[in-house]
């Protein structure tokens, strides 16, 4: 059902934990819906220098959390914002169709944490393309409408 890569990330997830001095924090999902994720970011010079997560959910949710956090470590916030769940799924070698939604959790947590970081700095939040009129050509950091 799951790829070997998924099972590897799931059984040995990276970046599990909390950051007491996080610069950005995101919490998404609700346990009654099945998936919950908390994400902690440490940011230096607009770049993610440390990241931790905790996830309640199925193997796909945990593996996506591990993979996504590994991928954004070292990225600029703009790069991290652009990381889509499809990128995470690809890095995992695919997910069963019924489990794709689990990878959205990590994408959402990252964006929530980035906007938390921006809010703490007094910056206006970036918006996902779907909530503006850029037509999906680029939004958030790159978006004229942002």
């Amino acid at each position: 059902m799951y790829t070997e890569k998924v099972m590897e990330e799931f059984t040995n997830p990276k970046n599990v934990g909390e950051l007491a001095d996080a610069d950005g924090f995101g919490e998404v999902g609700s346990p009654s819906c099945g998936d919950t994720m908390k994400l902690y970011l440490k940011v230096e010079d607009d770049r993610i220098v440390d990241v931790r997560f905790r996830t309640f959910g199925c193997a796909a949710a945990i593996a996506s959390s591990s993979m996504a956090t590994t991928m954004i470590r070292g990225m600029t916030l703009a790069e991290a914002w652009d990381l889509s769940n499809a990128d995470v799924v690809a890095a995992l070698g695919g997910l069963p169709p019924a489990k794709i939604h689990c990878s959205v959790l990590a994408e959402a947590a990252i964006r929530t944490a980035i906007n938390d970081y921006r809010a703490r700095r007094g910056l206006s939040p970036w918006k996902p393309c779907s909530s503006c009129s850029c037509g999906g050509d680029g939004c958030g950091p790159h978006c004229e409408n942002g």
Binding site: F10, T11, K38, F56, I62, A98
Partner: protein, 400 residues
């Protein structure tokens, strides 16, 4: 992964069982030597026909029925569909109401929903926190339009055994037909269709060490029942299709073996089950037993572990060579928490963190010991990952 991975500790016998060697041996000659069609007239069809007849007697004997009341089909789902649609459609002039429970298998529930789309009304009775149906509720639900009561003998997820004999009594007092899905109960709950007032009963071969794709419906003599599969005259005109002779023979042998010593079998499995339950509850904090403390299948242990999710538990166990289940096997690809656990009053998050271990004939105390070693580690590991686990002070001690 680990050593156990190659030959896993299999504790998912409610999903399916291995086939006993005696059953395979019984089936073997019917694949090649006695391959004839039992409906054929020549002598070469005699052995297959005798094989089917003997299996019918074995099934009848296991249920306290007569062979003429046993009809073979292709599994528990077909038997459930047949019983419920068959009774409903054959009796729709007399009534259009069915009484069942909220914790039936999907083969019953989805069939009832289908009938609702076709003009029937269905009462889904609630259960208590242990998953038991109140026979008083059954009685109250009966109306002048009720044609069928369908209550399972034992639940596939939490193992709760229902007061089927009392429900049968009530059904008959009110002149309503009574069907029970005994798929999980064969070999574990002694069945006597007469004293239990059962009119229709479903069973499935692969749940009691018989072959997959085999099942039977017991139909009390004189019961009005429409066919589900129309066609040739097999099964005395009630279920069309060339008989799956090896499968039927295997199921007959399997039910004979499974019901030869129910008490001894239960004693052996219950000892392991009780050890599992006792030690899991005492070593893993924030764990609870789902289902009834005593009125449960001897092989079933079903737990909820707070703060963690079932599929994760299952796959971590799998990585350590343990086969288990969360919710029922056939719905494990779905994202909904188990309708059975929700019906017993569990919150969504508790229902999500359920684990079902179902023992079988090949399990040993060593297997139980291995599970008791691995499970606390797995739960501990997942709780480390989970954001719901309470902070350190209140934290679960790390499994060593």
């Amino acid at each position: 992964m680990n050593d156990q991975a190659e030959r896993p500790v299999y504790m998912d016998h409610a999903a399916t069982t291995f086939i006993k060697p005696e059953v395979i041996a019984a089936m073997a000659p019917y694949f090649s030597q006695y391959f004839g069609n039992p409906s054929s007239l020549y002598r070469f069809a005699g052995e297959p026909r005798k094989g089917v007849d003997a299996a019918r007697e074995q099934v009848a004997a296991a249920l306290g029925a007569t062979p003429a009341e046993v009809f073979f089909c292709a599994g528990g789902s077909e038997a459930d569909n047949w019983a419920i649609k068959g009774v409903a459609l054959a009796n729709h002039k007399r009534g259009d109401h069915i009484v069942t429970t909220a914790i039936e298998h999907h083969a019953v529930l989805h069939t009832c929903e289908w009938l609702e789309k076709h003009g029937f009304s269905v009462t889904y009775l609630p259960v208590d926190t242990f998953g038991r149906v109140d026979p008083g509720d059954v009685e109250e639900a009966i109306t002048g339009r009720t044609v069928l009561i369908s209550v399972m003998t034992a639940n596939n997820e939490i193992g709760t055994i229902q007061p089927v004999a009392r429900i049968g009594r009530i059904a008959h007092d009110h002149d309503v037909l009574f069907h029970t899905d005994a798929v999980q109960a064969i070999g574990a709950v002694p069945i006597d269709v007469e004293s239990m007032n059962i009119d229709l009963l479903s069973l499935s071969g692969h749940k009691f060490y018989g072959p997959k794709g085999t099942g039977a419906l017991y139909v009390r003599r004189g019961t009005r029942l429409e066919n589900l599969v129309h066609g040739g005259g097999q099964e005395r005109g009630r279920r069309a299709g060339t008989e799956n002779v090896p499968g039927i023979v295997g199921m007959g042998k399997a039910i004979e073996l499974a019901t030869a010593d129910i008490e001894g079998h239960n004693r052996r499995l219950a000892a392991m089950r009780d050890r599992l339950i006792r030690e899991v509850l005492s070593t893993i904090p924030d764990s609870r037993l789902n289902g009834h403390p005593t009125e449960r299948l001897a092989n079933n242990a079903n737990f909820s572990f707070r703060y963690v999710e079932g599929e994760s538990i299952l796959l971590m166990l799998d990585a350590r060579g343990i086969c288990a289940s969360t919710g029922s096997a056939c719905s494990s690809a779905s994202l909904e928490p188990s309708h059975v656990l929700l019906a017993t009053g569990l919150a969504h998050e508790e229902a999500h963190g359920s684990l079902r271990l179902t023992l079988g004939d090949a399990n040993t105390e060593d297997d139980v010991g291995y599970v008791l070693e691995v499970l606390p580690e797995v739960i501990g590991r997942l709780r480390q990952i989970s954001p719901l686990t309470p902070p350190a002070g209140k934290r679960v001690p790390e499994a060593e």
